[in-house]
Amino acid sequence: MSSVSDTDESKSRLERIAGYLLDATVLERIGIAVGATAFALLIGLVIVALAGYDPFRFATQLVVGAFGSERAIARTLRFSTLFVLAGLAVAVAFRAGVFNIGVQGQFVVGGIACVMSIIWTAPYLPTGTVGGVLLIGIGVVNAIVFGGLYGALPGALKAYAGANEIITTIMLNFIAIGVVGWLVNGPFRGEEATSVRTEQLPDYVAFPQVVFSDPNFSVVGFGIAVLSVIGVAFVLTRTRYGYDMVTSGYQATAARFSGVDSKQTIVATMTLSGMIAGLTGAVFAIMIQGSYTDPAGIGNYGFDGIAVSLLAANNPIGVVPAGILFGGLESAGSHIQIRSDVPVQLINGIIGLVVLFVAVPELFRMIGARMGLGGDDR
């Protein structure tokens, strides 16, 4: 902390702010996030009051809607599961200095791979619990493989052809959504389906209902998310492979000089990120949808994951509380929309404000670090 001294008159204000942000300890950063959330909510409540609605009721409903009942908690955890997984997928890539904006596309590819592999293999396996477990296993593995491959593609393009991964992943999102949209309305469309979707997964392909009885949530799903976080944290901090990734993220040149194969690392990072995104797609398909619909109408979990990851400072462990915060906000938004006459646009605006406030300090930190601001000792 002492390295950034205010006595250095020549240091520009920008440098000082950047320096402060870069030097903040973990606790301080948590403090910034909590403060920003509170401040954003305060502004949101003022807007609610100005729009002519009762801000106290809004605030109460925000809490009640996120954690006020068993249903609310289940709904919060349902959203959180997806936000944690999608955030983790983004965080892995950002950690290694690769900007994977394509988590949404990898999520969609993983989801359809999961659903179709289950539907196609179901007739050859026994029904009931045993078949269910086997099919979930097959679906999840396929989702991870296809999501990983769809992530590896832009990784290889970046490593071996110099294609900017931000552009390629954005384009691959469109391609995934377009192609899967065509598939579910054409060759993959269920025979009985009245709307655009695949066949339904068999009834016995579902996560068991423990603790909560909610048709769209199972603690198993949340457990998968938490286990993934632990797994990734272990890989990043305790393995040589993870060390290479993180080092490349901190200082690509230094990593290269110390013998890291940067091209391989980029491809491996994108593959791992895509694998997690694919797993997110599998959890979404099995736990929530029970079939696959037109991906153009599916939530933007892959993009929300970017905000979750930023809030967590791209730290895999930090993705859990960040994901729960996002899940709680989303859940409360749904509750307020159903239980009050505050228009949905206003609710989404206020949630957006919170996201903006909590993500921006971290975004500035990343930009600052990238531009080499914040003092000479960096």
Partner: protein, 372 residues
């Protein structure tokens, strides 16, 4: 058969509800509950349970304020709210994956006389929820749930609507009509059809429209084309303009929001067009001078009928599979605002004949309401 005339006719016949018996209208009633609510603010109740009746409506993935489908369904509830002490909860949910839990959460409140769901995307979740919440009344638009007495499922007979549009186009292309610089060519019988996306649903519109034209006018030629989009007005404009170049004097569109392009093509080429779904000479009033009329489906009448039946305790009268059809009175062709009383009598005669023939079961169409 606009909503206005029906509600006037009906309100006389309908028994007065307890609350509308007095002079208290909904606005003053709400104001008074708000005052009471403000006094008793201390308890943070979850909802202002003020009104005697409650209805909820969940949007289709397109959301509200679409000037069409969703709004049309919601309008029926709003009309009912003018006559009854009814609170409407608009729930805009654009994510299909959320429908199951949103439906369940509304039903769990045990508050709503009916929950209206717009769009067939609600079908799969409703199959479960209608069973889980057997005492909840549900209204589903565009599909029905077999064997569920608590569901009122409505299917729009789009093919009948398209047929009427065809009858109107086939009739009017032979007549001489002039209005503000636009005119028909009575010597030739050529009409146009502009589709949005080339999909099953719109193909059914196209085929039924052609059958309608040919039913009334054997010699007519129908030019058809697709703009490839429900929102790109310039693509619809190109298709309509080329049809007009090839001799079409009346163009009908089934292109949703892109249909404005067909109207502007008619306007700039001094020809006419027909509207779809709602009276488009009102919703697209900048083109009212070329919109001879519109083939309409009265979704608002359906939601109105269902919600009032639920409030009057007459659910049995609306439950099960329902059709929005010519026979039921929910599908019609109405004259444009600027052409009321000025169109040839042959139009009304032919439309009446066509409707009578439908009711008598004399017309068999190739396509169904959503595909061929």
């Amino acid at each position: 058969m606009s909503r206005q005339t029906q509600s006037e006719g009906d309100s006389d016949a309908r028994p007065a509800t307890p609350n509308s018996a007095g002079t208290v209208d909904r606005r003053t009633f709400l104001a008074s509950t708000a005052a009471v609510g403000a006094v008793g603010l201390a308890g943070c109740a979850d909802d202002e349970e003020g009104a005697e009746y409650n209805a909820a409506i969940i949007s289709s993935p397109a959301g509200f304020d679409d000037n069409a489908f969703n709004d049309n369904a919601r309008d029926g509830l709003r009309e009912a709210a003018e006559e009854y002490d009814l609170d409407i909860n608009d729930v805009e949910e654009t994510e299909e994956a959320e429908y199951e839990s949103v439906q369940a959460e509304l039903a769990e409140q045990d508050l709503y006389d009916v929950i209206v769901m717009v769009g067939q995307q609600h079908y799969d979740p409703l199959v479960n929820n209608s069973e889980t919440y057997p005492d909840q009344n549900w209204m589903l638009i565009n599909d029905h749930v077999e064997g569920a007495a608590n569901v009122s499922g409505w299917i729009e007979m789009n093919h009948e609507m398209s047929f009427l549009a065809g009858v109107a186009a086939g009739t009017l292309t032979t007549e001489s009509i002039e209005h503000e610089g636009s005119s028909t060519n009575p010597d030739e019988s050529v009409v146009g059809f502009v589709g949005g996306e080339d999909i099953d649903l719109i193909n059914a519109f196209e085929t039924s429209y052609i059958e309608g034209v040919e039913w009334v006018n054997d010699d007519a030629e129908v030019l058809t084309g697709y703009g490839g989009s429900f929102s790109d007005t310039s693509a619809a404009n190109d298709v309509a303009a080329s049809q007009i170049d090839d001799g079409a004097d009346i163009v009908w569109h089934a292109a949703s929001a892109a249909g404005g392009g067909a109207f502007s093509a008619a306007q700039s080429n001094d020809r006419f067009a027909l509207g779809v779904d709602v009276d488009q000479s009102i919703t697209e009033d900048q083109y009212a001078d070329v919109i001879l009329g519109s083939a309409v489906k009265a979704l608002n009448e359906a939601t109105y009928d269902v919600v009032t039946a639920a409030m009057d305790g007459d659910w049995g009268g609306v439950s099960g599979e329902r059709n929005l059809s010519i026979e039921q009175g929910g599908i019609d062709f109405i004259t444009g605002q600027e052409f009321e009383g000025s169109l040839p009598a042959a139009l009304d005669e032919n439309l009446e004949d066509a409707k009578d023939a439908f009711i008598a079961g004399e017309i068999e169409l190739t396509c169904g309401p959503t595909g061929c």
